[in-house]
């Protein structure tokens, strides 16, 4: 029987075009109605270094990049091996490589693993025979994959045609010939059923799948949410957000500014928001460091602002192209003084849309900076996304002063909710002094302890409502289970998959996925952990930051521990599953120990 879920990993040198082959495959699969998810990885060189991709294709929903490969394609073994952690070969992997390398199946450079099948294919030679040169190896590989996997040739060729015809008829024909050669080879040398996909359900006429990555999704969400100003500075792995917005935002009457640094980026966004326009910035760790002071100003002057941090490995310059969930502490606590600043995190490309829209809503509703913690994995991986019904999403606009409030306007009116109507320049009667200095209700500087306490109260009070937003949490699995997982961001998908497998194996477990990380919604955790006997916070940071953060506010059951590690070491569903099994066994052991022993 064919499979419903398949992972392919490929690696080659910069010129091999292996990543674009992966993209072509993914696009074709998406058009055929499959769900797909793709991550890419490169060497440190800007150009000409090694590159790889990892594509997962399935007939059902996908939550993560998965574990070991089902099919590995090494255009070049040296390059392939550089991606160890990303391209894991196991005993059930089918391994394919270019026989021109001279490496034979019995001397594979894979220490400690014997793949399920090892097949050297004369990739270069076949390409040369088909096209006269070995340049089009990637088209040949696509032919192989089409033949083996069963992704229809027509779907892939349609994409190739579109790409290559631009560059000339000759190229397109060469590509097609290479593809055909691969396709025929695959037919002649079929692989196991384990790497043949069940056919997908083709989407009906109207229901079009989206295909994009987290960065573009977050930018599109911003436009949808009404963001009309972006100020930022390029930094990996967030630059694509700015790149999208510098293309699109003008069309909606907005503007995007590439500032001289991250400070100016966030400051210009703050300025735009002061003018009454929804505004954002996007960056990564080092840029976040620099934005700290202006974020403090935004909290103090109560200015709505969305700040997207696409986390990469840290500290400092760290690992610019790798994912890590290490910036949570910073998101909550970077600014000096007593500040409460909401922090949200998406768990997938699709989720990024909702979380970004929510971030704008929270920012506008509470007149506060909001930090969204994406990460390199979500931001740069491509996913198929089911159509989003935007008509059902409510957008929030900041509260503005009415006629009566403008009579004797107090910008920082100490209301019951803590939210004060905010006027913007141009409004007669609404002028006020905004500042980072402690102030009274009108905005005039004030430095008494009494006023400071009152204003701190107001600034904290207005955000307490967020702690009741249970809709920003999802609970999955068996509600009464004794074993509980908590996970966020890109790790959450891995846990979802592990949970599904655990349940399939008869284990009683559940999973809490917070999209609101801060303020800590203590009630949600207390309720979730009631009756839990053992648990894990699963996150990709050395310190296990969410676990520590929740401990600040919640008394967790003693056996709730952290399962965490440094970035650039993505979790795999199997290892989370293992930990769930171990917890289940330990609980069982405890039960047995508790049985009275009959003598």
């Amino acid at each position: 029987m064919a499979t419903t879920d398949l992972i392919i990993g490929m690696a080659g040198s910069g010129g091999d075009g292996i990543v674009s082959a992966g993209e072509a495959l993914m696009a074709a699969a998406a058009r055929e109605g499959y769900r797909a998810l793709m991550t890419k990885s490169y060497g440190p060189q800007i150009r000409g270094g090694e590159s790889s991709c990892r594509i997962r294709i399935a007939t059902g929903r996908l939550h993560s990049a998965g574990g070991a490969l089902d099919l590995a394609v090494a255009l070049n073994w040296d390059d392939f091996l550089k991606f160890g952690a990303e391209l894991t070969v196991s005993g059930s992997t089918v391994v394919v490589w270019d026989s021109a390398s001279g490496i034979t199946a019995d001397r594979l450079p894979l220490p400690g693993v014997t793949p399920a099948r090892a097949l050297a294919v004369p990739l270069a030679e076949l390409t040369k025979t088909a096209t006269g040169s070995d340049k089009m190896k990637n088209s040949l590989v696509l032919g192989l994959l089409s033949g083996w996997l069963g992704v229809p040739a027509a779907a892939i060729l349609a994409g190739l045609k579109k790409r290559f015809l631009r560059k000339g008829e000759a190229l397109w024909q060469a590509s097609e010939r290479a593809f055909q050669a691969g396709f025929e080879f695959a037919r002649a040398e079929p692989l196991d059923d384990a790497v043949r996909l069940e056919p997908a359900v083709r989407p009906a006429g109207g229901a079009e799948k989206l295909l994009t990555d987290g960065n573009e999704m977050s930018a599109a969400a911003a436009v949808f949410a009404g963001c009309r100003f972006f100020g930022g500075y390029p930094i990996t792995p967030s630059s694509e957000v700015m790149q999208f917005l510098t293309r699109e935002i003008w069309k909606y009457g907005g503007a995007a500014l590439q500032a001289e640094d991250e400070i100016a980026g966030v400051a210009s966004a703050l300025g735009a928001s002061l003018a009454g326009v929804k505004a954002m910035t996007a960056t990564s760790g080092p840029g976040m460091d620099l934005k700290t002071e202006v974020l403090g100003l935004a909290s103090m002057a109560e200015v709505p602002l969305v700040v997207l941090n696409v986390q990469r490995g840290g500290p400092s310059t760290g690992l610019p192209t790798r994912a890590e969930q290490g910036d949570l502490f910073q998101a909550c606590f970077s600014a000096h003084g007593d500040v409460l600043r909401p922090v949200l995190a998406p768990t997938s490309v699709a989720d990024t849309f909702h979380v970004m829209v929510e971030a704008f809503n929270v920012a506008e509703q509470y007149q506060t900076p909001v930090i969204v913690l994406s990460d390199q994995e979500i931001a740069q991986r491509k996913e198929t996304v089911d159509p989003i019904d935007t008509s059902r999403i409510a957008l929030v606009e900041r509260q503005r002063p009415g006629e009566s409030e403008l009579q004797d306007y107090k910008r920082f009116l100490d209301t019951e909710s803590g939210v004060s109507p905010m006027s913007c320049p141009g409004t007669p009667g609404g002028a006020y002094l905004g500042s980072g200095i402690e102030h009274n209700e009108t905005g005039a500087p004030a430095s008494s302890g009494v006023m400071h306490t009152r204003m701190n109260d107001k600034r904290f009070r207005k955000l307490q409502a967020l702690r009741q937003r249970t809709d920003l949490f999802s609970e999955e699995g068996d509600a009464g289970a004794p074993i509980a997982l908590v996970s966020w961001g890109s790790s959450a998908g891995v846990c979802r998959e592990a949970l599904a497998r655990a349940q399939a194996a008869g284990l009683r477990a559940k999973l809490l996925v917070p999209r609101l990380l801060y303020p800590v919604a203590d009630d949600v955790y207390v309720r979730f952990f009631a009756g839990v006997q053992a648990g894990l916070f699963v996150e990709q940071s050395y310190q296990g930051q969410l676990h520590r953060l929740v401990r600040m506010f919640v008394d967790l059951p003693r056996d709730v521990q952290s399962f965490c590690r440094s970035g650039a070491n993505p979790f795999r569903p199997a290892e989370v599953l293992e930990r769930i099994e171990a917890l289940a066994q330990a609980l069982q052991g405890r039960l047995e120990d508790a049985q009275p022993v009959e003598e």
Binding site: A155, R202, E208, L210, G226, E260, A264, G296
Partner: protein
């Protein structure tokens, strides 16, 4: 002038009582701003006034405009975001020599090369007033201050030469020792369609030196007009600007006779041009759609 003005200078004066030291030059600067704004004639609520931190940066609070007394050194980027978000506003920016040329010095070249229609007024008192008398980037070499007990070891910057090298379209210097001149310069700066810079030699009576005070200034100041400088001559402006710290020249060093379009004009053009074929925003996600038409990718 006999023309009746829509707004009198006092209409721009707020209720907040200045806490500057008695005699501080900044009192004169805010007066000149009231008068210039009155001459311009736009209502206070259409004005946004952004500053950083410093004695001088308190100035927006003393006006009836929308005031933003932000953080140290960041007035210019905030003002740029504000202006881009609403180009109809009249946007003023002000601050001190420390705020603008030290901590905020990195923003100046970029604000200028973008050429938004902003008026930037620096109260250059050659010292840090608010923090009680430390060195500033325009303090002269050898100056003794709270952080230079034995005299500073570094050369001051030359703000006039700097902003000229950055390509500012309007560059002027004034002093509250000449209120009429200062008012006129500020008015002219506001009217200039693009980035305009006014350096004001505003004395700090508490931490400044004798020769920086109004009385001394009155004795030595010399207008550029009186020496026959043509503000359209860029190279000559550079040369006159090199006199900074030696001579107190007032007036316009440079006024671009052929002002290029402002950044916000270009932005509006771009918005108009690209906005024509924009989808309604709910359809932004269509950019990500992979269309299938009988298995062949549509070329949309």
């Amino acid at each position: 002038m006999a023309v009746e003005q829509a707004y009198a200078p006092k209409d721009f004066k707020s209720d907040l009582k200045p806490i500057w030291c008695p005699g501080c030059g900044d009192y004169g600067v805010v007066q000149a701003i009231y008068r210039a704004l009155s001459a311009i004639g736009r209502p206070p609520h259409e004005i946004a006034f952004v500053s950083g931190i410093g004695c001088s940066s308190r100035i927006p609070g003393y006006t009836t405009a929308y005031g933003f007394n932000s953080v140290h050194g960041r007035a210019l980027p905030i003002a740029q975001g504000l202006k881009l978000a609403n180009p109809d506003l009249l946007v003023l920016v002000a601050g001190g020599d420390g705020d603008g040329f030290s901590i905020g010095g990195g923003h100046l070249p970029h604000a200028i090369r973008r050429n938004l229609d902003l008026t930037y007024i620096v109260m250059d008192n050659q010292v840090y007033g608010l923090t009680k008398g430390q060195l500033s980037p325009t303090s002269v070499r050898g100056r003794k201050t709270a952080t230079s007990a034995y005299g500073s070891l570094e050369q001051p910057i030359n703000p006039l030469l700097q902003v000229l090298s950055y390509g500012a379209g309007f560059v002027a210097q004034g002093t509250p020792a000449d209120m009429v001149g200062l008012t006129a310069l500020i008015e002219e700066a506001i009217r200039y369609p693009g980035f305009a810079f006014v350096n004001v030699q505003s004395p700090c009576v508490t931490y400044g030196e004798e020769h920086q005070q109004m009385r001394a200034q009155k004795a030595v100041m010399k207008s550029l007009a009186s020496v026959g400088h043509d503000p359209a001559d860029y190279l000559k402006a550079l040369e006159w600007a090199t006199h900074y710290t030696h001579d107190l020249h007032t007036g316009v060093f440079y006024r671009n006779p052929d002002p290029p379009p402002t950044y916000e004009q270009l932005v509006r053009e771009r918005q108009a041009e690209l906005g024509r074929n924009a989808l309604p925003r709910e359809r932004i996600l269509e950019l990500f759609v992979q269309r299938t038409e009988g298995g062949v990718l549509a070329d949309s």
